[in-house]
């Protein structure tokens, strides 16, 4: 029994310590942003890596999400003869919730894991120390550009995701299931407000910071050779995904 509580308490303390270190890393990254030198090239390279290279997978997953949403809601709404609302439902779900979340989870799997693996490898092969020895701040050089890339690129990807998701819903709802296209679109215009879209994009920005920060953090604190890098990568994906969904709940309840 004592051992159980010791385990529980130990886990709790470790979680608190980990949150603290992560917050500190975020703070350092933010402070580094306002200090010279500004290596513009690094920022663009990370934006390309986090954003542009994730475009295809975000397109695909969002398209199918919109399609399946239309399919599911169509069969439910038909029971009430409310097929006309399928479009608005898809649009609201995508902009408020699924666009940002799916984008964030896909980018976590693609780029968050790669960030952890890359920085983790640099850590265990002493490349991070080499930066410090050359009087270059590893946080400024490695973490800041990635966190900024997450912050900027996730909302942009989410715009694409929202749009493609609705397109997928349109294809299934209108072209396959025969809902009237005019009604489908009109309901969307009536029911979706700009604030739905903005709130979704704000969430996406937070998710972007989370997935980049967690990847950097796990990479930064990697130890134990190649095996350690693998562990850091897995942990980064799991932790970032959990934090994204948990913060999604918190943000959503704040925005309601």
């Amino acid at each position: 029994m004592t051992r159980f509580f010791a385990w529980l308490g130990g886990g709790f303390l470790e979680a608190v310590a980990e949150s603290g270190r992560m917050a500190l890393l975020l703070w350092e990254a933010a402070v580094s942003l306002v200090r010279p030198p500004w290596r513009v090239g690094l920022f663009f390279r990370q934006m390309e890596f986090v954003g542009v290279n994730s475009l295809f997978v975000v397109l695909l997953t969002s398209l199918f999400t919109g399609m399946v949403l239309a399919l599911q809601t169509y069969h439910a709404f038909r029971l009430f003869s409310a097929e006309g609302l399928v479009g608005a439902t898809v649009a609201l779900s995508m902009t408020r919730e699924l666009g940002p979340v799916i984008t964030a989870l896909m980018v976590t799997g693609r780029a968050g894991s790669a960030i952890a693996a890359e920085i983790g490898t640099m850590r265990v092969t002493e490349q991070v120390d080499a930066l410090a020895v050359m009087a270059i701040s590893p946080v400024q050089y490695l973490v800041t550009p990635r966190v900024v890339a997450g912050l900027v690129m996730l909302p942009l990807l989410t715009v694409v995701s929202d749009f493609v998701g609705i397109l997928g819903g349109y294809l299934v709802g209108v072209k396959m299931l025969g809902i009237n296209g005019g009604i489908f679109m009109n309901r969307i215009y009536e029911l979706v407000e700009l604030s739905d879209i903005y709130n979704g994009l704000a969430k996406a920005a937070v998710f972007g910071v989370i997935l980049a920060l967690v990847g950097c953090y796990k990479g930064f604190y990697t130890s134990g050779g190649a095996e350690g890098v693998g562990r850091a990568t897995t942990q980064a994906v799991v932790l970032a995904s959990v934090l994204i969904l948990a913060s999604d709940y918190v943000l959503t309840s704040l925005m309601m």
Partner: protein, 253 residues
């Protein structure tokens, strides 16, 4: 010591959890010397070196670089101190996203206002100095262990530092390559006038290049002086280590 030491460690203590790695360590490095720290694997040599360059902070004690205590300095305040150093890491620590030339150019591009052309010139000079002229286009993954270390050395001396640190520069290399690296260490001192602090468990290589040898054991320097003096030491631990004997006071923990 008749001249002020360029690096001095005073009563350094460092533990990781319950494991005490450095335990009241004192060390003074004469400017312009090749000073070699020997000691068994896992004995804390790399930890010692990380204290010298400020990658680790001691639990207590002072680290003096040209008379300045670096322990209380923040990471940002360390910048001018770090500029005095170049470091060759055990496995080279080359940036594997950059070419060989990119690696050597990196500190120049970050810390000087030289033009691209000038940087390319310096890079070619440094690569030639370590015997890798014309290899700048290669990626680190295409290099052998010895070549990686030589690129690491070229990068370490790119900014003509006053002090160059070498962490196990010859470990894992064949004897010819090891001798070649030793030559480069002497050349670094003679041509660039740098003070060299070398960490090694390779006794033979060590004694041939050292002006000064320090033996690290049990978290302390237990013997120091010119190689001949240390070789003749009466201390049983030192004797056992230098002769590479299985029997003696050093036991496998």
């Amino acid at each position: 010591m008749d001249v002020d030491p360029i690096i001095e460690l005073r009563d350094i203590r460092k533990s990781f959890g319950a494991q005490r790695v450095l335990d009241g360590l004192n060390l003074a490095v004469r400017p312009g010397s090749v000073s070699v720290v020997i000691g068994r694997s896992g004995g804390g040599k790399s930890v010692l070196m990380k204290h010298v360059i400020g990658l680790m902070k001691p639990d207590s004690g002072q680290v003096l670089v040209e008379g300045q205590d670096t322990v209380p300095l923040t990471e940002r305040q360390m910048t001018p101190v770090r500029r005095k150093f170049g470091m060759l890491f055990q496995e080279g620590a080359l940036f594997d996203s950059m070419t060989v030339a990119g690696n050597v150019a990196f500190p120049l591009a970050e810390h000087t206002r030289l033009s691209r052309r000038e940087i390319a010139g310096v890079v070619e000079d440094k690569l030639a100095a370590v015997g890798l002229g014309g290899m700048g286009y290669k990626m680190p993954s295409e290099l052998s262990g010895g070549m990686r270390k030589r690129v690491g050395l070229a990068r370490a001396i790119a900014l003509d530092p006053k002090i160059v640190l070498f962490d196990e520069p010859t470990s894992g290399l064949d004897p010819v390559m090891a001798a070649n690296i030793n030559e480069l260490i002497l050349q670094t001192r003679d041509e660039f006038g740098a003070t060299c602090l070398v960490i090694s468990h390779d006794i033979r290589a060590t004694f041939s290049i050292a002006d000064e040898v320090f033996m690290l054991y049990d978290g302390r320097i237990i013997a120091s002086g010119p190689p001949e003096a240390v070789r003749e030491s009466a201390d049983p631990v030192v004797r056992q280590f230098i002769r590479g004997e299985a029997r003696g006071p050093i036991t496998i923990a």
